[in-house]
Amino acid sequence: MKVKIRYCGQLKQAAGCPVEEVESGSGLSAQELIASVAASHGEPLSGYLLDGSGGLRATVLAFVNEEQVDWETARPLSDGDELVFMSAIAGG
């Protein structure tokens, strides 16, 4: 299956692109894909996305098809889903 990944805010620079499409086996959860994306990109993106224990950082929100992913509940993915990563930003 193919999943589109979109990076917002400072994550765009960390990923080196605003959007990418990844192909994976069926049955993958959003949490597993996020871990896989972090591993394949390496630093700096992995450090932005994941904390020391491999969980989603408290400064990042993840959404699948515009609904926030609850890290504690496996979110199954389907072909054509869009995963969005958003980092906290402020004002000025």
Binding site: C8, G9, Q10, Y48, R57, A58, T59, L61, F63, E66, E67, Q68, V69, D70, V84, M86, S87, A88, I89, A90, G91, G92
Partner: protein
Amino acid sequence: MIEPKPLTDEERAVYEWQMWVPEFGEEGQEKLKGASVLISRIGGLGGVVAYELAAAGVGRLVLAHAGDVKPSDLNRQLLMTHDGLGKSRVESAARRLRELNPRLEVEAIAENVTEDNAAALVGSVDLVVDCAPLFEERFLMNREAKSQGKPLVECAMYEMEAQLTTFLPGETRYLHELYPEKPEWWKREFPVFGAVSGAVGCMGAMEAIKVISGIGEPLTGELLVFDLGEMRFHKMKLGAS
């Protein structure tokens, strides 16, 4: 609870066009006149929020922002002017707002939000609009707004992107619950166009007007995210817990 204030004939003339908006009318205008709003800070985002709320007839604005006007403010901080360089930001802002609306009550606080003043600042108003550049200030305002039962409009921007949502007591989570930690990588100075801060500032002002007057549907439980580089707009549904 906002106590509506009756309008004068002059105010009816000034606000005639927005009182034509269905469901708003004179009753909505009286609520705006009776309302008070804290805006921190009043730079690229907050300045535009303040200008729109002053134009719309909100009765009292509390502006919190330390420091003097610098050249690098002038690409986006629309309440600041070239002749105000080196002078107090809040005083420049208050002067511009009074020129627009001499009926407006403006309280200009030449301080940023801190542990020492957050409770009193939030406690002095009906609604907060968070436009601060530092997460320490944002978390302080959000914690106080939640504990004091005050609505808070959260505006943010970066490069050509912006985020907007509205927190309501008893209904939504607040910023410190959505993002429990401040991002280590965030810096007070960052790339942005004034047109981006202005766009999200106008939208933040409209959220405040909706919450105060009770019209429309505020962005509660949803995060509006937009990228003006691609003119892409999304409403993201936030989790409940």
